[in-house]
Point group: C2
């Protein structure tokens, strides 16, 4: 790391962007009743007693005059589901409040709904801060919800995951010479996958099915009338291609039916097969909800984003099951 | 969400804590040469031109006098690997700088190494902020690195994951009535697991092995001399118990050997089996490094934390492979 003299604004912005922040929308209302709102990540806490927070606004901002004259403003800490709202209040020129539902607050400043936290403030100080004005407000009222907060880092929206204080270990620390450890990504993915399958497996076994038969049923649940080759294009990423014997077994169980079409045999789900497949999917969802209640929905959301990113980066051409035929 | 009147300091802290921040250490040096440093998350950017940042310090802080009199201070945005340092500078009374390597900066203020970003500042303003003083500094020099930044949210350290601007989709949007979608956690885990196995599978097939045989070899690589039942205690979470036929096959391939001990047959790796197992593990690590280079190491770190949390929360009693016998 070497120090650069400042004044390359882009490099300075980039360095500042490494400091993670939440995302807020700050609103106010002029004496004439004109409402303003801007997206800001320059918010922070200042004082507990008296309760105070601050944020800063560019002197060039069109809303500067309203905020400067206003006695009250509201800070809204946005949730992960309010990214669209963040974008809207970061842009200029549109009616930002169109269709936005508001609560009644202590002042005329608009009070947005569905946020992670809200602080209703009275201006305490306005301070000089270079090309910005620093607004310090006394918090008159606040509230917060369990909604996962949206974060911002390096110019992009971000999700957060609790970092365990102690390194999270499933078992004992292996000796240093040991190359196979629980920290191997492949081990963690395999074990997660199999443990999640555990609940499904019992239900499958009661029908003499295994997870590979379930994969066949779920593919046919989305796309009916596939040949063995077509089925395999969707399933072969599992490393276990569907065999004719599996299909014959599923047919004997009354879960699928076959139709001849020219030289090809096409497979379709029977009503019983569809019911069985939907039951398994419902169970998979119940398992997911159970995991979600233990890990928290924001951790599960982050996990899904990461898994999708991993799948996209290691995909070797699985066709889109949900795409047009 | 209903508004509470303020002044319950704990509730106010909790609401403020929903605003995500990075973590900084701010350092300075008195005229007498006494160095001070504190952990603060009240940092934020203020101005681009002139370049300015701010942070606030409790009026009760022991370092207040030094910071108030100092003309210079340095802000260090901490990386995910500096959590211990963050804890140390948040506590009182120890020699915080013991063993900490420093760089030469523009002033006498200590300049820490290995941070995500650093800002060397000259005090521009000190402002009243309730029970805190707001320090605004002009940035004289700054630098930054690629190290993943540490975050803080709801009173806990946090990892961050880029949130895709558009929802990340692997395939087309399924029709709304479709209950089996790519957003099913089980689907994402299965597909991730199998796609990661893909590279390993080719190498395994060249030895006529499958992933289940590999699981057996990797368990024996950590714990030698296991009976079939003992092996299965470690492997059965995969839903596919080890069969005697698999062990016989591995024995014929010269990868494992069996020993009679009383009534039991115990299995051990041969030198060839160990070599094969270590080769597979090395390949699994290479695959992981490839994924890491595509996703970024901080995303892979967050993914591992989440998977461990999922495994711990769905574990139905897999014994610790690395634990004492």
């Amino acid at each position: 790391m070497t120090a650069h003299r400042c004044f390359d604004p882009q490099a300075f912005r980039t360095a500042l962007g490494t400091f993670t922040t939440g995302v807020t929308i700050i609103t106010s209302c002029s004496e004439e009743g004109e409402v303003v709102g801007i997206t800001a990540n320059s918010f922070n806490s200042v004082s507990l007693n008296p309760p105070m927070v601050l944020w800063s606004l560019a002197k060039s901002a069109r809303s500067l005059q309203t905020f400067s004259k206003a006695r009250h403003w509201n800070v809204h800490v946005l949730s992960t589901e309010q990214e669209e709202l963040s974008g809207r209040f970061a842009r200029q020129g549109e009616d930002k409040f169109a269709g936005v539902r508001l609560d009644n607050g202590l002042s005329n400043a608009p009070l947005l709904q569905d946020c992670t936290a809200r602080f209703q403030c009275r201006t305490a100080f306005q301070y000089e801060g270079g090309d910005h004005v620093i607004f310090v407000g006394e918090v008159l009222a606040f509230d917060h919800s369990e909604r996962a907060p949206l974060a911002f880092q390096r110019g992009q929206y971000a999700l957060t995951t609790r970092k365990p204080r102690e390194e999270l270990r499933l078992g004992c620390e292996p000796p240093p010479e040991c190359s196979y450890t629980e920290d191997l990504l492949g081990y963690l993915l395999g074990r997660s996958h199999y443990q999640l399958l555990h609940a499904l497996r019992r239900q499958l076994q009661s029908r003499q099915l295994d997870e590979h038969a379930f994969f066949v049923l779920s593919v046919l649940c989305i796309r009916d009338g596939l040949s063995l080759d077509e089925l395999n294009a969707f399933v072969s990423y599992t490393g276990k291609p569907v065999q004719t014997t599996t299909l014959l077994f599923l047919e004997r169980q009354g879960l699928i039916a076959s139709e001849r079409k020219g030289d090809e045999t096409l497979y379709v789900l029977t009503a019983k097969g569809r019911e069985c497949s939907l039951e398994e999917i419902a169970l998979a969802k119940a398992v997911e909800e159970d995991v979600s209640s233990r890990l928290g929905s924001s951790d599960v959301e982050a996990l899904k984003v990461l898994l999708k990113r991993l799948i996209a980066s290691t995909d070797c051409g699985v066709p889109d099951l949900w795409g047009p035929r």
